[in-house]
């Protein structure tokens, strides 16, 4: 074994999946994700579930031509919407051309940290949105209501830069969805949600929108907040009663430069890779990762 760094929060359960994990069928391929910037990011957030950073090349940028191949296959399978994430998507030098190609075949969502949204890019994104019959939606991440709360998690100076980015988006008429995680417990409370919506209003967003996500105790977050416990796993029968619809893996797949994964969360797990093309991955998947427990228990969907 050539493993080099001993994990601080070693958890044997991660290495030993339970023998009878429930399997989720792909009900329909509605949402296609792209790890378009790989795991490369201009931030290194302490709660990042896939430990993105400037030096993390676990997954690399996806070139336009590669994205187009999957867009064509997605259209053939009737994909309803496309999501782009990373890393930071706008680090990918072809990102705007990728959006242009995508908006010809369906609605597009971009999950960004907002750091690269300057005036020019905001204007170009507005033009892209206006040029398509389909919606373009931007999600901008923030994890605290003040720099003091946000920056220790997302990085020094990030709060002010996100405030500036949201202002610019509002100025050009793009209404972003602010995405916060429950890394700070108060973020997800009713009061917290109202405060984030108020913050958006002060930035000039007159129809504020918010998405709150739970944290996944993997990647950098396992270091920061602790890893999953052995009991946080799904077993046969857990999911069947509710059906599959609340689990995003029943209707999504994630494409990276290394193939097609089951969902956006498990891209740092080689066993999350289901195949090379979308057609390889229309089969079922076992919910044998502790992160699957979070999706099930919290009813998480990474979708907006």
């Amino acid at each position: 074994m050539s493993s080099t760094v001993a994990p601080k929060t070693a958890n044997p359960s991660v290495a030993a999946p339970p023998p009878r994990a429930p399997r989720v069928e792909l009900r329909s391929l509605d949402t296609l994700w792209f790890q378009v910037a790989g795991t490369v990011c201009n931030l290194a957030c302490r709660h990042c579930f896939i430990s993105c950073s400037p030096t993390n090349h676990t997954h690399e940028f996806m070139p336009l031509a590669e994205v187009e191949r999957y867009l064509a296959e997605g259209a053939q399978l009737g994909v309803k919407e496309y999501y782009f994430t990373g890393g930071e998507p706008f680090l990918n030098p072809e990102m705007e051309r990728i959006l242009e190609a995508t908006l010809k075949v369906g609605p597009a969502h971009v999950l960004t940290n907002g750091l690269l949204l300057d005036d020019e890019r905001c204007r170009r994104l507005k033009l892209l949105a206006e040029g398509s019959p389909y919606s373009l939606d931007l999600r901008v991440s923030l994890d605290g209501l003040t720099a003091e709360a946000n920056d220790p998690i997302r990085g020094a100076g990030s709060f002010d830069r996100v405030m500036a980015a949201v202002r610019k988006l509002a100025e050009v008429g793009i209404n972003p969805v602010l995405t916060v995680t429950e890394v700070l417990a108060e973020n997800g409370s009713a009061e917290g949600k109202e405060s984030f919506l108020d913050l958006l209003r002060t930035l000039g967003v007159d129809k504020p929108r918010l998405k709150v996500l739970p944290i996944f105790q993997i990647g950098a977050e396992a270091e920061r907040g602790g890893a999953y416990q052995s009991w946080q796993r799904l077993a046969e029968g857990d999911v069947m009663e509710q059906g599959w619809d609340h689990l995003q893996c029943s209707s999504c797949r994630m494409v990276t430069g290394q193939g097609v994964w089951v969902c956006p969360i498990l891209v740092n797990e080689p066993q999350g890779r289901m195949g090379e093309t979308l057609a390889d991955t229309l089969n079922s998947y076992p919910l044998d990762h502790p992160a699957c427990w979070t999706c099930h228990v919290h009813g998480v969907s990474c979708r907006t």
């Binding site: 080099t4 991660v14 950073s53 676990t58 399978l77 009737g78 949105a129 209404n175 740092n268 090379e276």
Partner: protein, 338 residues
């Protein structure tokens, strides 16, 4: 930077840790909770999943997109039908619609569900449906009311939207007669009709889910093509979103969201919308989306008498939605006042 005070030991250590953290992935990959050499991760990725041969892939795609064999009997054939959805207790608009159907000489009238919610006096709706011999399918409202569910299952996440959805559902659930609820419970979830030489599938949200939203800006052509292929129909008609639109797909198949007659289309006018399907001499079907004017002032007065929220009354009077806005995609939301 020359004026910067010298770093103390704690800060120096913090910066060193931060630098180490930023550089941690040089040549490494995260695998679960471990850092491993990139090559090791990529080799494991190569071994994972299944890679099908060309013909196996084609078979997978063909089986995924193949018609799913709907056994629902086909009603008709018709040359002219009226299709509407989303009554939302608006019995005044429903009465106006029945008059319009008679005036236009429709052979049949179909309702795509969501009889309750939002408006006043739910029990006024049933006698009108019966008088007009309206053939109704179940919406999420009927499913919830008949099943005694605690909410309308509209699928809202925003606390404000849910607050108003609960008020609306609570009122309807309390007021609706028990035998009306039972009647809702036996409604079919889909119908098929023949108009001209085309087969039309009627659903509430989408063919897949009773509460799936089919908005214009988030229902791309390739998606609709596959949906209609799987359902083996020429036309698809739905409601549920409250916003009407129609489209002819590259294959010449057609899709329309017929909108709702229960509340305005969030466009600043008080009219509501329904659809007329008419067979052409060629056998093709023309879909017309039609605005309907009704006595909205009288409806607003009745809503006030019933103690319904002022926000709902405002929508009836102004044509702008005041609640349930979070589900609108960016393009539709941009056209919205709130």
């Amino acid at each position: 930077m020359g004026n910067r005070p010298p770093q103390d030991e704690a800060e120096r250590q913090r910066l060193a840790e931060e630098r180490a953290r930023l550089a941690a992935h040089r040549g490494k990959a995260t695998w679960g909770e471990k850092l491993v050499p990139l090559g090791e991760f990529r080799a494991a990725v190569e071994r994972s999943g299944r890679v099908l041969a060309g013909e196996e892939r084609a078979a997978e795609v063909a089986s995924y997109t193949a018609p799913r064999g709907d056994k629902v009997a086909v009603e008709g054939p018709y040359s002219k039908v009226i299709v509407f959805g989303g009554v939302y207790n608006n019995h005044r608009a429903l009465a106006a619609l029945l008059d319009e159907a008679e005036r236009r000489g429709a052979e049949a009238i179909y309702c795509l569900g969501d009889l309750g919610g939002f408006g006043p006096s739910p029990n006024e709706v049933r006698p009108l449906l019966e008088a007009g011999a309206v053939r109704t399918i179940q919406g999420n409202y009927e499913e919830s009311l008949a099943g005694g569910a605690e909410d309308c299952n509209c699928g809202y996440a925003d606390p404000r939207d849910n607050h108003f959805a609960k008020l609306s559902y609570g009122y309807t659930a309390e007021q609706t007669a028990a035998d009306f609820k039972r009647w809702m419970g036996q409604l079919p979830c889909r119908r098929r009709i023949r108009v001209g030489n085309k087969e039309v599938l009627l659903v509430h949200g989408s063919p897949r889910r009773i509460n799936e939203f089919l908005f214009a800006s988030t229902s791309p052509d390739p998606f609709l093509e596959v949906l209609l292929e799987q359902e083996d129909c020429d036309l698809l008609l739905c409601t549920h979103t409250g916003l009407h639109w129609r489209r002819t797909l590259p294959s010449a198949r057609q899709v329309a969201n017929v909108g709702v007659i229960g509340r305005p289309a969030n466009d600043g006018t008080t009219q509501v919308w329904f659809a007329v399907l008419e067979a052409q001499t060629s056998g093709e079907v023309a879909i017309e989306l039609v605005p309907l004017v009704y006595d909205h002032l009288e409806l607003a007065a009745e809503m006030r008498r019933e103690g319904l929220p002022a926000e709902f009354v405002e929508t009836i009077l102004t044509g702008w939605w005041t609640t349930c806005l979070e589900v609108l995609p960016p393009r539709e939301r941009a056209l919205s006042k709130y």
